[in-house]
């Protein structure tokens, strides 16, 4: 009932192999960096997709939870905790902090929910900039060491200060995220998220506890966002309030919408395409943001469902037409 045709599976396999082999073709530290960061942003955007895209609750505190992951890993590793412990711990921390936030903000709906979560996000951002003892204030926490070398059978020693190792680490988490989201989204349980987004009253009437559903989605998104943030901390090596800011939330939102909301591949495509677009607009210098702002408006007008959504819509129109023709043919013969 939720299985994909074989050629799609083969295509994803090909993409996976390409992704695994990519480091062989990138010799350039710059492109490597952009790709690694895009993977991290893709993870966070996928998480945002869960709560905004699939569950329909515009959580604008997402950047703050990314920040909790980043600060969590930074603080714990600085205190001597191994990265491999610090990362899940930071993510659990995000879930714990997310609980009161969710309990309060999920009482509101629509624009109200967006603004309440934005407020929570801004508050956490301000706290990050001012709780000097814990977060280092505006300077943040710097000199965060990458995870220690680990010994892997067959491959040998992995040194995480190299870009290739960071790439595979990030890729592994992206695949893990996509795997988890795939399982959730293409299931009856995932349908309840979409049911809440689509028609909350009806979902309620058919026995779905909408509040709990939203809370689970919110918390799962926070958990994953924090994982992405934790990875960010070791890739960048320094964490300052901008890693927890609302600017980050807006970036994720742009990736999400332009890539294609409520589609798994859309988040990934958005998180790759937009930063790469921004990088390639660097030559415009002072006019970079001018052009980007205008582009954003034009794209949202002409591709309201984003890139993947647009293609999907096209596909659907064609399929519907074909189906209609077929049923007409049946009527004629019958």
């Amino acid at each position: 009932m939720f299985t994909k045709p074989i050629h799609i599976k083969l295509f994803f396999l090909a993409v996976l192999i390409a992704a695994l082999l990519l480091p062989l073709f990138i010799s350039d530290a710059y492109m490597f960096q952009v790709v690694i960061m895009s993977i991290l942003f893709a993870i966070a955007t996928c998480a945002m997709n869960l709560i905004i895209g699939f569950t329909g609750q515009a959580s604008l505190a997402h950047g703050a939870f990314f920040g909790i992951g980043a600060y969590g890993v930074a603080i714990l590793t600085k205190a001597g905790v191994s990265f491999w412990l610090a990362l899940p711990a930071a993510a659990v921390m995000a879930v714990l902090i997310g609980l009161p936030v969710g309990l309060i903000s999920l009482r509101t709906r629509g624009h109200y929910f967006a603004i309440v979560t934005l407020c929570f996000g801004v508050i956490m951002w301000i706290v990050a900039g001012n709780w000097i003892e814990l977060t280092g204030g505006e300077n943040g926490i710097f000199g965060i060491a990458p995870p220690g070398d680990i010994l892997v059978p067959l491959i040998g020693r992995i040194d995480f200060s190299s870009q290739a190792a960071q790439y595979y680490l990030a890729l592994a988490f992206l695949l893990l995220t996509l795997w988890a989201l795939y399982r959730i989204v293409y299931s009856v349980f995932g349908l309840t998220f979409m049911a809440v987004r689509n028609n909350e009253a009806l979902a309620d009437a058919v026995g779905i506890n909408t509040f709990t559903t939203k809370l689970i989605s919110f918390e799962a998104a926070n958990f994953i966002a924090a994982l992405a943030g934790g990875l960010y901390a070791i890739v960048i090596g320094a964490v300052s309030p901008s890693a927890a800011g609302y600017g980050l939330t807006f970036n994720f939102l742009i990736y999400l919408i332009l890539g294609g909301i409520a589609t798994l591949s859309g988040s990934v495509i958005g998180a790759f395409a937009i930063p790469i677009l921004m990088e390639s607009l660097q030559f415009l210098q002072d006019y970079q943001l001018l052009i980007f702002g205008a582009l954003l408006v034009v794209v949202i007008i002409y591709f309201p469902m984003g890139f993947v959504g647009g293609l999907r819509r096209l596909n659907q129109i064609i399929a519907d037409r074909r189906r209609r023709k077929k049923s007409e043919a049946v009527h004629v013969s019958g």
């Binding site: 204030g137 300077n139 943040g140 002072d286």
Partner: protein, 421 residues
Amino acid sequence: MKHLILPMRMAVIGIFAWAALSTNALAKDVVIGFTGPLSGPGAGYGRDVLNGIKMAADDINKGGGITVKGKKYTVKVEGLDDRIDPTIAVNNARRLSSRSKARVIFNPVFNTIAPLMQINQQKTSQFLLMAYSSTPKIEQIPNDLTVSIPPPFTAYVNAFCDMAWKKGWRKGAMMVTLGAYGDEWREAFKHHWEEIGGEILADKPANYYTETDFSAQLSAVIATHPEFLLIGGPSEPTGLVIEQAHNLGFNGGFVLVDQAKMDYIADVVFKGDLSKMGNVIGVAPIVGLPSPVIPEWNKRYEKEYGVHDTFEALLNYSATMIVVHAMEKAGTIDNPQAIKAAFAKVLPQDPTKVPTPFIGTLGPKLLITTTAGEIIDGKYTKVNQYVWWTKDEAAYMELLKSIPASDNVVTSWLPLKGYLQ
């Protein structure tokens, strides 16, 4: 799900097309990189820094460029905007070092300096990081390829305290900008001021970057009846604070943190009317600096860039000069270690050629005197110049010879803990 093939394919094509667009610097150029805020808050500051670097490159190129191992090179400056976002800053630095082969990169904000110090020693993309930030935190991170340009702000703290004390001020109140820099400043100032016997009556920081009306905090600090206010952040809002304090009936003096420049405020905010500023202690006005080339430099700078000159532009101008001359002396344009090692050979700089000459190096720090100035009754007074790194009088007297002097400048020794050699 066929529809997914197209986007994926296009994304892959996109990545490779973009990769193919790599632009290598021309063979005869030596690229100096810059990443910093050129838009958003801090844009003015970032542009001042970049302008200084650009002007140095122009001056070098006008003189025929540099000669390294017999080959002639033109200095090319590539400046990228990072909006103080660490992600973009790292991308920019990678881009500058991988694509443009820049081996020297300037950055003016600690939040982006720290992540750059994480990557500048990686074998695949080494570069010399020219960090323009006065926080001592830079020296806490071990890094052989970082140079910090400005004097530590604590040198200013000591200098300003010294001047304020001599004026007879005892009771102060603080309303400094929020943020890392402001936090460090007010803490250091409070500590030092109380150490020498002064008193701080109130401490109400304000956000100079996002707020523009300071009356709430100002009323609170003024209500404690201080003799002077320690204020400052970026220059323009600092000017506003002075004006608003006067409007609220404050008649005391002001001490400005080193980010705020009194001449800039006087010229830009008060349109040159010094009398509107009251009594002010702060970083010396540029016109008061001892170097003979200052007036000419000033004029050229303002003509070229259409903005008031600042210390940021001056010090980065001088630092860029050090870098390119060190390249000549080291005989390499792409070995950052060798370039840094050659700094010693081009220092001290000649005050008749460079407006703000550096004297030497101390660990990762370039050494330059701190200069403090004052406005009394609508006029600039003489400039105080402080040597802060010599550990004894004798070393100071020895150093005096290489320090620029003029009739308008009083030089003295103000040892700064942690930096004495």
